[in-house]
Amino acid sequence: MNAMHLMAAELAGASGRAGEPDWLRERRGEGRARFEALGWPTRADEAWRYVKMRELVRWGEASAPPPDAAAVERAMARAGTALDGVAARVVMVDGVVRAEATTRDGSAPEVSVLPLGEALSVVGDHLRSSLGRIASLTGDGVAALALAELGDALVVHVPRGAALSGALEIVHVATGGEAGLRFPRVFVAVDATGELTLIERFIGVPEEAGFTAATTEILVGGDATVRHVRLVDLPEAALHNGHVGVRVGRGGSFTSYVLSLGGRLGRTELTVDLAEPGASCQLDGLYVASGDSHFDHATTIAHTSPHTTSGETYKGVIGDAATGTFFGRVLIREGAVKSDTRQLNHNLLLSTEARVHTRPQLEIDNDDVKAAHGSTVGQLDEMAVFYLRSRGIDERSARGLLTWAFAEEMVVRLPVPALVRELGRVLAARLASDASPVAAAAIEEAL
């Protein structure tokens, strides 16, 4: 870091925003200090091993300047409308909550969905104890930088026993730009026996690039249920790095659905701490990469308490000269007896230039556990392609249909039916291509 950068960084860390509590300013300072200590990740870091770091560091180490009114308008036009089954919807442009676009039905008014400034007085205790500490201060340099540069954030609080009538959808739109990073941040606390389905959608303005480093922190309370859909479908030049940090309390249940569909580089780093007895998680993922895209997934599941259960299934469809990466660690700590984990990663390569790196990894510090893991890399079954063709289905459609068949299970398990239909159509168009109405119709039929 050069002297100019350092000075700017110190200023940002120290200045804070008017009227905010001291702890928040200090938290930014902790993020800054951690970033100074860690710096950018390098390819020596296992989770970043296949990422071309040069492409990332050229964006600098500070926030991009705020978008102008025209850029915000273009971004808002991309935000679309709510899906069926969505009870509340928030649009964030470059990490800033656009209050004018927030919609919400009348259900569960005790559930708060607020920008950070307003949330401080409502859920200050949760924020003070946990903001930045679930993901940023346990993550790598990029996560720390996101905390150092913390500006706006969306804060969601579901009090004990509460639930919205449907999902909460957060649409993150990136405006693009040529320098600096965007740091959208979401903080979610679901108290005991509460329930939440959260859909986070990362999209951008076509033709724009930009680098987004997003953070989502989720506290799952005792016997609470949280489902988190994280959908990254950015324009082809855009870069995205996401950190998701989750802590699951006693008997709580967390389900994650990570979908990497678009962008030049898309990384999602997901860390789940099964922190109390009986906590469980299921992590599902699907990456569909084409062109020269690189989609990278690093997950860590930490079984730190007894009787904790985890499952993980990631599937990748890699075409053209694209790259897919899955690095999944499961840690079972010494005291986490009677833990159970099952981890799978399956990849389908559609071309000879496509690359996949898969590395499931178990680190077990006690004997009284059940653990299984495995990964596969394969191609379409040519005999199945011939079988379909021998029934009159053209080759392109046959390949599209078989590729869809591989990916399908990850789509149909999404928790919101309207999202299943939407993604089915998106994938039908991409996997089967426009030239294959037969496969598209068949996929439509299957949904």
Binding site: D381, E382, M383, A384, F386, Y387, L388, R389, S390, R391, G392, I393, D394, E395, S397, A398, L401, L402, W404, A405, F406, E408, E409, V438, A439, A441, A442, E445, A446
Partner: protein, 250 residues
């Protein structure tokens, strides 16, 4: 309907068909019998257009068209159907989705209208009963976890749905117990209509007790060694294939 003339084909570097000549009239049911390795399955794959089966010499005309110039899926749409010896499992694709795509691709190519959801299901139900498959078949994944008998019945169901001009049945009897053999044969016989031609490929004459052929051809070392009527199959049952192999070698 089908004229095969001096067909030579190889798989990799191995020549398998070595000058096979055969004709089939509309409505004719011809059995192709022969010992293991004589080229029976290769013939079925060459006719249906499986990649990797290279024709080095000879011609095949189907309904006046050059069959060998067509892609596998074009042949299917033109009316060639292969009932596989080992039907392929296609996990993740339901029978209904698969068959509707196939039926409508074929109907479209033949200038018939595509079936809507209701028409399709009605046809499916009719044909399902013909081969004695359960109602849940539509939603099951294609051949996935099917028993041997179910797979072969599913082939005949597909044949009934796609209404081909030429059906090639490759060892449809292999792996079937007697009840499944009867059910499959009844399905095939119901599709004999005086127009549709069939090539019934089998190692054993047992299948021909149920699907009675008009003609029997014996394939030895990539060529038709003998052609006769029904009685030829019975003679083979008595005498085995060795005398024909000896004749062919001489």
């Amino acid at each position: 309907m089908l004229e095969i003339d001096n067909l030579h084909a190889r798989v990799g570097d191995t020549p398998i068909l070595k000058g096979l000549t055969l004709t089939l009239r509309p409505g004719e049911v011809a059995a192709i019998m022969g010992p293991n390795g004589s080229g029976k399955s290769t013939l079925s794959y060459v006719l249906s257009g499986r990649p990797g089966y290279e024709v080095t010499e000879g011609t095949v005309r189907f309904d006046g068209q050059d069959l060998l110039a067509m892609e596998a899926d074009e042949r299917a749409r033109a009316g060639v159907f292969l009932a596989f010896q080992y039907p392929v499992e296609v996990p993740g694709v339901s029978n209904k989705v698969f068959l509707k795509a196939a039926v409508n691709a074929c109907r479209k190519a033949r200038g018939q209208g595509e079936l809507d959801a209701y028409e399709f299901l009605k046809l499916f139900e009719d044909k399902r009963k013909l081969v004695g498959m359960g109602k849940e078949l539509a939603s099951r994944e294609v051949n996935s976890g099917f028993s041997g008998g179910e797979k072969k019945r599913n082939e005949i169901l597909q044949m009934a749905m796609l209404d081909p001009k030429l059906a090639i049945l490759d060892e449809t009897d292999s792996g079937l117990d007697i009840d499944a053999l009867k059910a499959v044969s009844e399905g095939v016989n119901a599709l004999r209509d005086g127009e549709r031609a069939m090539l019934v490929i089998t190692h054993y004459q047992r299948l021909l007790d149920h699907i009675v052929p008009d003609t029997v051809h014996v394939l030895v070392d990539g060529r038709i060694a003998r052609t006769g009527g029904r009685e030829l199959a019975l003679e083979l049952e008595e005498r085995g294939y060795d005398w024909l192999k000896a004749e062919a070698a001489a």
